[in-house]
């Protein structure tokens, strides 16, 4: 936590009165800008800005052997890097917990929502399947990298073309693309992370708000269903608060979806 105590106390006091420093409502996102096709050598890529927070996400594919427990389904790998370029708080070196957590949470949002139709990514059962690799990089951290990463992953997947594959030589022709998109479900999953400050929940925190939050919960939704969830940090939540979190996440999911749907490819 790098936010001074004085600011922290003032932010908390404001939030108790349902007010935020930047004038937003507690359940209101900053402006979201999604741009796809930002890196030509990727199968698909996206830049997502939420206010001044910015991430780049790219999808690469190759062909590998399937996992033994899913011989007829493609593989999915999600990784995140909180680059030292994006914040004075991040250092070079092996990934620390927040980067690993980001990758893991986004992996589950994509996987559990069944956004990718994995069975359509099987080339030869038990032998060859497509491997979808999503890599997330932070460019500027001004709070809520987690939700930006989730939107970025969805946007990059939506803009992805499958590479050409030489069936005789059983080789992927990297740098050449077929006209096929990655098969995706019609409904789009989005994760909304709620941060608890004092007795209230907020969404899309600024960096300071993120610093002083005592618990967070990421809820991955697709349509009417919740398909992934993770509570983070120490502060416990009451059942009442969980009810509230579910309700808020549904409302915000619809808001965010409306904001990004037109910008998806």
């Amino acid at each position: 936590m790098e936010t001074p105590k004085l600011n922290a106390e003032r932010i908390k006091k404001y939030i108790e009165h349902e007010k935020r420093f930047d004038g937003r409502a507690l359940d209101e996102f900053r402006e979201i800008v999604v741009e796809t096709g930002i890196s030509k050598n990727a199968e698909g890529s996206a830049r997502v800005k939420i206010g001044k927070t910015e991430v780049l996400v790219g999808v690469k594919m190759d062909v590998t052997t399937p996992y033994p427990d899913s011989p007829d389904k493609g593989n999915l790998m999600v990784g995140a890097e909180l680059t030292p370029l994006s914040s004075p708080r991040f250092e070079s070196g092996p990934p620390k917990f927040p980067a690993i957590e980001t990758g893991r949470i986004i992996d589950r949002i994509v996987r559990e929502s069944k956004f990718i139709e994995m069975e359509k990514l099987c080339i030869k059962e038990g032998e060859k399947v497509w491997n979808v690799m999503i890599d997330i990089y932070s460019l500027n951290d001004d709070g809520n990298l987690l939700d930006a990463a989730g939107i970025g992953a969805i946007a990059a997947l939506s803009a992805s073309k499958i590479p050409k594959y030489d069936e005789e030589k059983e080789k992927v022709l990297f740098g050449e693309w077929s006209n096929k998109n990655i098969p995706l479900s019609k409904e789009v999953p989005v994760s909304i992370t709620l941060y608890k400050i004092g007795s209230k929940f907020i969404v899309d925190p600024s960096l300071e708000e993120e610093d002083i939050s005592e618990a967070k919960i990421t809820i991955g939704r697709k349509g009417d269903y919740i398909s992934s969830m993770q509570k983070g940090d120490l502060k416990p939540l009451t059942i009442q608060e969980m009810h509230q979190a579910i309700e808020v996440s549904e409302r915000v999911y619809n808001d965010v979806l409306k904001k990004i749907e037109k910008q998806l490819k």
């Binding site: 890196s39 030509k40 780049l56 190759d62 030292p84 370029l85 500027n140």
Partner: protein, 236 residues
């Protein structure tokens, strides 16, 4: 080089032998950083961010006699056609060091004792000459951060395709196989014309190398103008 010999040689993308790919440069792309910039040669795009001067960690790396420049070059996994594994490798470690050697001579950081200036560069999209784009972006980001500098540096790759010298090598040219194949010579120069970095892979005569240096001198002047313009725009 006569006009005639120029027109005889066909580059894969139709450029003249002394023609650079379109360049773009922008300063201030990363709000969190003390200085930042992007630089691109055609499809090669580099982002650079500067943090510092700040206290050097780990402490045992501190130099009590002068300030330190620390560069960190890395390619995004999806910047190349075949996914690059995230994290440092021998290549990126070497390029990071090369960048320090290319940039530090123009910095005036002697007074920042025990401190470090960090430069982080990410390659967003790669089509050869990534280290040159990285150095160009880094030089601009350092200037944008207000680090005292006596000059700017500009970097370009000179290629020899078969027997022909060309400026600003693309990926297709880097993989040139006809005749004598490809020789790649990335060069960094100050605006004054001093070399702060040169590497060479391939085969070239001393005489032709001298010619390559002249080409680099001319190209780096062009790059310098692009860098200067972007820096001026950033201060309105």
């Amino acid at each position: 080089m006569t006009k005639e010999s120029k027109s005889k040689f066909e580059r894969p993308d139709g450029r003249e032998t002394d023609e650079m790919r379109p360049m773009t440069a922008k300063v201030g792309i990363i709000p969190n950083a003390d200085g930042s910039a992007m630089f691109s040669f055609g499809d090669t795009i580099a982002y650079a961010a500067v943090y510092g001067p700040k206290v050097m960690h780990p402490q045992h790396s501190q130099n009590p006699e002068k300030g330190t420049l620390r560069c960190n070059y890395s390619m995004l996994s999806f910047s190349v056609t075949e996914r690059a594994r995230p994290g440092p490798n021998r290549r990126s470690t070497e390029i990071s060091k090369i960048m320090e050697w290319a940039l530090e001579p123009v910095l005036i950081i002697d007074e920042f004792k025990s401190m470090v200036v960090d430069v982080h560069v990410n390659i967003i999209q790669a089509n050869a000459s990534t280290r040159c784009a990285a150095i160009n972006a880094a030089a601009m980001a350092l200037a944008h951060a207000g680090i005292p500098m006596k000059d700017l540096v500009s970097s370009v790759s000179i290629g020899k395709l078969d027997k022909q010298l060309v400026v600003d090598v693309s990926k297709k040219e880097e993989d040139w196989e006809e005749g004598e194949g490809a020789t790649d010579i990335p060069i960094t120069m100050t605006h004054e014309g001093e070399l702060t970095h040169i590497q060479l892979d391939g085969k070239i005569s001393g005489e032709q190398l001298r010619e390559a240096l002249e080409m680099a001198r001319k190209a780096t002047q062009e790059i310098y103008e692009v860098q200067k313009k972007a820096l001026k725009e950033s201060i309105g």
